[in-house]
């Protein structure tokens, strides 16, 4: 927890200063999750504000301060999902649109990742977002929370209010689809110049 339970209790009681402190403590984390989920940097702040707006008006529904973080993550996930649904489109870059250079970066990543990471951050981002674009918005968010944010299954269980097994199955399927897309990209192109 980034804040004390007492602060959450005060915010629940209508203390705006306490709420302000909570926003200050969590905004970086929330914006990070939003950024990695919606794939449009220009809209990250708007979605982040929507998350905290929802938090402000739903704090009285929070059962106890102990479940504050899963609650906030759930609001973040919902806001990101609503945004993606409103956009009605996947990230602009798709597998077919990836340039030769991006594929080379992805390939280099496996071997010499430390060099490639810093030099080609944009390419990595676009490549990963294209891979994540192969699954539904819901699965993309779930997979990002697990694989990128590093949340445990227990935490995901609390966020989604779903059984661990159901989440495991869903995560497995989503990951398999992304993996297949990844392998398809890594396959050497078929030689069409045979004589």
């Amino acid at each position: 927890m980034l804040v004390e339970f007492d602060l959450i209790e005060r915010a629940r009681g209508g203390d705006d200063a306490a709420f302000n402190q909570i926003v200050m403590a969590y905004r970086k984390r929330v914006l990070g999750i939003v950024a990695r989920n919606i794939g449009r940097p220009e809209d990250v702040e708007d979605v982040g504000q929507e998350v905290f707006l929802r938090l402000y008006f739903s704090l009285d529904q929070l059962r106890s301060p102990e479940v504050f973080e899963p609650w906030l993550y759930r609001l973040t996930v919902n806001a990101a999902y609503d945004y993606l649904r409103k956009q009605k489109r996947r990230p602009e870059s798709r597998m077919a649109d990836l340039s030769e250079q991006q594929l080379l970066v992805a390939d280099a990543l496996a071997g010499k990742k430390s060099q490639a990471e810093h030099q080609n951050a944009t390419n990595i981002r676009e490549f990963t977002e294209a891979l994540l674009g192969e699954v539904s918005e819901e699965d993309r968010i779930l997979l990002t929370l697990k694989e990128v944010e590093g949340l445990s299954l227990k935490e995901l269980e609390e966020i989604y209010g779903a059984k661990e097994n159901a989440l495991k199955v869903r995560l497995f399927r989503a990951r398999q689809r992304v993996l297949k897309a990844y392998e398809d990209t890594m396959k050497p192109p078929a030689d069409g110049n045979k004589t």
Binding site: L53, L109, A121, T122, T128, E147, E149, V178, E183
Partner: protein, 109 residues
């Protein structure tokens, strides 16, 4: 396959580093509070309107209830100001009536 799995894990890790939380603009907090105030005002107005509506509906209900259970008062109407007997009496004043014995009348007939 296992190799691909590993590479994918590495890619996700690299993605996290390539996608750090964006810098937060100075307008973030003021913008958030503007939105909160806006929605607060809207909620407050809605609350006031709904309270007014509920009060008006309650007052109407109480009026209807009072009207239904209030004792019915017969207003003095000129048509029904007299009882039937009084009306008969007025039409046939006692002074004009000749007293006759019942059996005598029968005898005469």
């Amino acid at each position: 396959m296992a190799n691909s799995e590993e590479k994918l894990d590495q890619l996700f890790g690299a993605y996290r580093e390539a996608c750090p939380a964006p810098p937060i603009s100075a307008n973030f907090m003021p913008g958030l509070w503007r939105q909160i105030d806006k929605r607060r005002t809207l909620t407050w107005k809605l609350k006031i309107y709904s309270r007014g509506l509920v009060t008006a509906a309650l007052a109407l209900c109480m009026t209807m209830f009072a009207l239904q259970w209030a004792p019915v008062q017969v207003t003095a109407s000129p048509v029904y100001s007299k009882t039937y007997l009084e009306a008969l009496e007025d039409d046939n004043p006692v002074e004009l009536l000749a007293y006759t014995e019942g059996p005598a009348m029968l005898q005469q007939q």
